[in-house]
């Protein structure tokens, strides 16, 4: 349960977050999607009580982040982007320390439980300084989960993890998100689609779009733009493909693949494939091109996508 209204944060003369409004319900995973420097971390730091906003209001877990900061901090689990940890501490002792700061009962059990959730039980007695980046990330996550918080705020939770771990962590977040409120930030579009119920796209401190993942997905994966690759030269063929109704050639890539665009809402992939085969060529690849995050931003901020 996060409710943000009119949130603004200035760093000196620079406005990092500009009049942000959004909310997140219990049992919902909300993704904060945006390029670096968009204001994601700043917003999260305000929500976790690390710094006060310049203007506006934020209610987290039922308490105001400025007026009742301590109450908010008791109920929020936070994984900062840089995953700050004490390198000279043993993993288990570190979690115990963080648990004691929160006055948790049975700290030992809680620390063990959190380690099990992130799959680090076998490294409990190792020094944090000796852990790999992915493991550090998981220790940070264990710290955020330690007190079974109502609200979980995760800043780039999967960055630096190897693919297998990414899948595990996403699975974990999805599991947690069933009962609690999760706000996570990412600049990986695929990740936002994968875990979040709802996505907020933020750019230059402003929310430029807010949508459910399904809608966003449709927008991104609508096969309106495809890459086609065949064996051999095919300049002539490309010209004839273009003649299929609703298909427009966009450009020929350096490696010989050709990019086509379909009239909106139509999926003409079968037609294109049939045409290539009928003309006697070997079809090597026919792949839909989702819009990239940059393109979505440009589109959302009202600029045309200009190809280089």
């Amino acid at each position: 349960m996060i409710k943000v209204s009119g949130l603004t944060k200035d760093y000196g003369a620079r406005r990092a977050v500009h009049n942000l409004n959004f909310d997140a319900q219990q049992g919902e995973i909300v993704g904060f999607l945006g390029p670096n420097g968009a204001g994601k971390t700043t917003t999260m730091r305000i929500l976790t009580g690390y710094m006060p906003p310049t203007d506006g209001e934020a209610i987290v877990a039922g308490y105001d982040v400025v007026e009742e900061s301590l109450e908010v901090r008791k109920r929020v689990g936070y994984l900062p982007e840089t995953v700050p940890l004490y390198n000279d501490m043993v993993v288990f002792d570190y979690l115990k320390f963080m648990g004691e700061l929160r006055h948790l009962p049975n700290v030992d059990d809680r620390a063990g439980e959190a380690l099990e959730m992130v799959g680090l039980t076998d490294r409990a007695s190792g020094y944090i300084g000796n852990l790999s980046k992915g493991m550090r990330q998981r220790v940070g996550l264990a710290q955020a989960l330690l007190h079974r918080p109502e609200v979980l705020i995760l800043d780039e939770p999967t960055i630096g993890l190897d693919p297998g771990q990414v899948v595990e962590v996403r699975e974990l977040i999805r599991e947690i998100g069933k009962e609690r409120t999760v706000l996570l930030s990412t600049h990986i579009l695929h990740e936002a689609q994968n875990i979040c119920d709802r996505v907020l796209i933020i750019n230059k401190g402003k929310i430029v779009a807010e949508d459910t993942t399904e809608n966003l997905q449709a927008r991104l994966l609508g096969a309106e733009r495809v890459i086609v690759r065949v064996r051999g030269e095919w300049d002539e063929l490309a010209d004839t493909v273009k003649e299929i109704k609703g298909v427009r050639k966009v450009e020929t890539h350096e490696d010989g693949a050709v990019e086509f665009e379909f009239a909106s809402g139509k999926d003409l992939r079968p037609e294109v494939a049939k045409h290539v085969i009928k003309s006697g060529y070997d079809l090597l690849e026919l792949r839909p091109l989702g819009l990239s995050l940059e393109e979505i931003f440009l589109e959302l901020t009202g600029n045309d996508v200009k190809k280089k």
Binding site: G49, R73, V76, P80, T82, E100, H103
Partner: protein
């Protein structure tokens, strides 16, 4: 209170993980040991040539306080500046910990470390007591140690406060060292040359309350108030610096 204790305990354990703490303990205990041996040797010589005043251990405690001018900044320099540099401050400031609890916990951790070393130095008056008939003046020793704890309390609090201001631990070290140098040696100097009002400067000196009063068995409210005020000032500075960090 429990939070302060948790932070203090971690900091105390942490001292024993770092070589710096051992170096500091060494730099205190070695000169004190040599000084102790010299005092004992000198007294024994005098006793041999007929009659000597009973040796007392207070000069040792003066040496301890003197060494703290240089060593306590090293104990406190990284307490908060390092948290800021490593980013772990973000972790602490988003935990349900009040800014004051954080600063006080760091100070208490450093106090506990110094207290451990102080306990070790108790060996000197105990040995001395065994060589002197009818024994040394334990009330004087007590007064001296109370004074020493107060001096350390003030120094460590100021050190923690300054550490909260900086992100670089060496900046914190040199500013703290400069402040102690000024408060110990320099602030009282003009007192002798001023026609009036020099007493205030003398009162502000970090050394007089200990070196001239408590280390001679005189415990006065003014002296205690002085050191406790400095402790409060240090902790307040630290808390304010952390708060300012949040708003920046």
């Amino acid at each position: 209170m429990k939070t302060i204790w948790t932070i203090a305990k971690r900091e105390y354990d942490n001292y024993f993980n770092s070589p710096l703490a051992y170096v500091i303990a060494f730099a205190i205990l070695l000169p004190m040991g040599i000084y102790f041996a010299l005092i004992m040797w000198f007294s024994a010589q005098q006793a041999f040539y007929g009659g000597a005043p009973a040796p007392d251990s207070t000069p040792l405690n003066w040496l301890f306080a003197f060494l703290m001018i240089f060593l306590s900044p090293a104990l406190t320099m990284r307490l908060l500046s390092d948290e800021a540099r490593m980013g772990t401050l973000e972790l602490l400031l988003t935990s349900p910990v009040r800014d004051f609890e954080l600063v006080a916990g760091k100070w208490l951790g450093a106090m506990m470390f110094i207290f451990s070393i102080l306990l070790m130095t108790l060996i000197y008056p105990i040995i001395m007591n065994n060589f002197v008939t009818p024994g040394i003046d334990w009330i004087l020793v007590l007064s001296s140690y109370i004074g020493l704890v107060l001096v350390c309390s003030a120094m460590l609090a100021l050190g923690v406060g300054i550490s909260a201001i900086f992100t670089n631990q060496f900046a914190a070290f040199f500013v703290t060292l400069g402040l102690f140098f000024f408060l110990w040696f320099m602030i009282g100097l003009p007192a002798g040359y001023l026609p009036e009002g020099g007493g205030i400067l003398n009162y502000l000196s970090l050394s007089t309350h200990f070196s001239e009063n408590m280390n001679f068995g005189s415990i006065q409210l003014g002296d205690i108030a002085y050191y406790l005020s400095l402790t409060a000032l240090g902790l307040f500075t630290g808390t304010t610096a952390i708060e300012i960090r949040r708003w920046r």
